[in-house]
């Protein structure tokens, strides 16, 4: 049923919590190098969809295939190692460690206990960390403890921690929430830089930002998909206007 050239194929996916259907019979496909944005009112199940894909929540029905791999049966760290990266809504970084160490931990090598004990901070690691730090505007802050970064910088750091994993599918939960106007502009610039050679799934409320980056938009409402397509078409859809864009 699912075609193999989709990076991500979500089919009849459902999850219910004590009878409440948070996601109900959801089907969508993400192409290679596509930026897909999921929008919808609060409680529509957007974050739950990301939780299901990255293995944080177990689905009750349906399937999620990533490059032909069935993710619903895999553990979180296996999904990450397969090439799916996830950014959380609140910046989720290690405040007690420096920016350098934050990025280094995400570097995809030495991920077992003994691998981590034997891990060496060699030239390759240094070069890669510095390269990523440059991309996320934090070159000057490598030695700084992450807790002293501003909110926007923390968001970038987490994006950087995902980039260093080189995921083929990048999932971002409200990447510009709580950012200042200038930070938001820089983030859009950052996202446009990093989407090359990977697919991106974004949840966002900021319509201006969505219009800037989205190739296609999926609209969720009460766990169900009510519209899908390019932003201009979705914006004109009367159902979407009624449940979401209208107010």
């Amino acid at each position: 049923m699912s075609e193999t050239d989709f990076v991500l194929a979500v089919e009849s996916l459902g999850v219910s919590f004590d009878g409440f259907k948070a996601v109900d019979d959801l089907t969508f496909y993400v192409n290679e190098n596509e930026i897909r944005v999921i929008i919808g009112p609060n409680g529509a199940g957007k974050t739950t969809v990301l939780d299901l894909i990255c293995g944080r929540t177990k689905s009750t029905s349906g399937s999620i295939k990533f490059k032909g791999l069935e993710l619903t049966r895999m553990k979180e760290h296996e999904i990450v190692r397969a090439g799916v990266g996830r950014k959380f809504q609140n910046p989720s970084i290690y405040e007690d460690l420096t920016v350098f160490e934050n990025l280094e931990i995400s570097f995809p090598r030495g991920r077992t206990v003994f691998g981590a004990l034997a891990f060496k901070r060699d030239a390759q690691v240094r070069a890669r960390v510095e390269e990523i730090a440059e991309t996320i505007f934090l070159s000057e802050h490598l030695g700084m403890r992450a807790e002293y970064l501003s909110h926007g910088q923390k968001q970038w750091l987490e994006i950087g921690m995902l980039l260093i994993q080189e995921p083929e599918l990048l999932m971002l939960d409200e990447p510009v929430a709580g950012m200042s106007v200038s930070e938001r502009k820089k983030t859009a610039e950052l996202l446009n830089k990093i989407i090359k050679n990977r697919s991106v799934l974004v949840i966002e409320h900021d319509m201006k930002f969505v219009e800037d980056i989205a190739h296609k938009v999926t609209v969720l409402h009460q766990g169900k998909m009510i519209a899908e397509g390019p932003m201009e078409r979705v914006k004109a859809d009367p159902k979407v206007i009624e449940v979401y864009l209208g107010h």
């Binding site: 290690y94 460690l97 891990f119």
Partner: protein, 386 residues
């Protein structure tokens, strides 16, 4: 809050040298054999405190059952020494000569199978490290794979400590019961009860402790050590960076268990017996207090904490035996309320800046590999200064 998990190399080396000087030179020079043996006993608890620094301070896993691992190490050593003391000639008045006396009193007629390996010294040494690690692995795997953590984990380890005590006390014929394993005499023919043996054992213990501190410092400096801190902070982030978090927790818990067991074995050697009173809930909690008073983020702090609390315990309980427990409780509350990072935190706040300045004077330019925190010219909303 400053984290002491990643000390700069020079400072931690100097700190370790100061501690080594204290326990290798000052104590032996100033104390008589009786007092020195007592300090040696305290230092065996420091092994447990070191394990707790990694496990609790760095990784955020509070175990209230470390006494079990201390006890297991101590019992392994005691079993070996007891077998050596129970040669057929020495026990010929028993109805079954050649088995430990308490087994004979309990009508056992042959040595239980699990005592057999303890005829061999190399196997005993191996058992001291591996038996506690195995128990820790079973508990750790059962808990961490199911994502049981925090206070629930602490309660379960405490229950485990209670179970172990009941088991040891109840199985008198196999374990020596409430009295423990007593009347230990020689180690490979060397009498451990003499003053000179106690003197030598003190140094063996001290060197082992320094070796373990070095090992822990190394672990703390590897990426493994940084992942422990990261896990305490944002467990999900670590998981979604491709790590199997439970394996890291199991490993550090086993590591702490083996460290505690080394302390336990050295305790048996220096004190000459092992009993269930070092296994249960109360000693396990006391061990956590040593670590908290010293500073749960600092390896050296934990050693000083252990020495200080035990010194206080000995001096107070000699003069006011009934008040001591209140003193210990008060000390714990004071530390938690006022100095969450313990002695090491106090040192870090008040003494360290002076030490740094002093060291800076000695050697003008410290190697500046990374730009220091807070001094960058950020144009965005500037970070609060330290």
């Amino acid at each position: 809050m400053r984290v002491l998990s990643l000390p700069t190399d020079r400072k931690s080396v100097i700190g370790l040298l100061v501690l080594a000087f204290l326990i290798l030179v000052i104590f032996p020079a100033m104390l008589d054999t009786f007092r020195l043996n007592m300090v040696g006993k305290y230092l065996t608890y420091a092994f447990v405190a070191l394990g707790l620094v990694l496990c609790w301070g760095h990784a955020g896993i509070l175990s209230l059952g470390q006494g079990v691992f201390f006890g297991l190490g101590g019992y392994c050593m005691a079993m070996f020494l007891k077998l050596e003391a129970s040669s057929p000639e020495a026990t010929k008045i028993q109805s079954t000569p050649g088995i430990p006396d308490f087994m004979d009193w309990n009508q056992l007629t042959e040595l239980p199978w699990f005592w057999e390996p303890f005829h061999s010294f190399p196997l005993t040494l191996l058992a001291i490290i591996l038996v506690p690690a195995f128990f820790a692995f079973v508990i750790g795997a059962a808990m961490f794979k199911r994502r049981v953590g925090g206070v629930y984990f602490a309660i379960i380890t405490q229950a485990f400590a209670a179970i172990m005590t009941i088991l040891i006390v109840g199985q008198q014929g196999y374990t020596g019961g409430i009295n423990g394993i007593t009347d230990l005499r020689t180690l490979l023919g060397w009498d451990i009860r003499t003053d000179s043996a106690k003197f030598i054992l003190y140094f063996v213990n001290a060197f082992l402790l320094i070796g373990c501190i070095l090992l822990c410092m190394w672990v703390g400096r590897t990426k493994f050590g940084r992942i422990l801190v990261a896990m305490r902070d944002k467990e999900d982030r670590v998981r979604f960076s491709g790590y199997d978090v439970s394996n890291f927790k199991i490993f550090v818990f086993c590591f702490a268990a083996s460290l505690s067991a080394i302390g336990g074995a050295m305790f048996t050697l220096q004190v000459g017996f092992m009993s269930p009173s070092f296994v249960g809930i109360v000693p396990s909690i006391e061990l956590v207090i040593y670590c908290a008073v010293g500073g749960r983020l600092s390896l050296l702090g934990a050693v000083y904490g252990t020495l200080l609390v035990n010194w206080a315990k000995t001096s107070f309980s000699e003069s006011f035996p009934e008040l001591w427990l209140f003193g210990l409780g008060g000390m714990f509350i004071l530390v938690v309320m006022a100095f969450p990072n313990g002695l090491a935190g106090i040192y870090q706040t008040y003494a360290d800046p002076h030490v740094t300045r002093f060291l800076g004077k000695l050697r003008p330019k410290p190697d500046g590999k990374l730009p220091s925190a807070g001094l960058d010219g950020a144009e965005t909303s500037s970070a609060p200064a330290e």
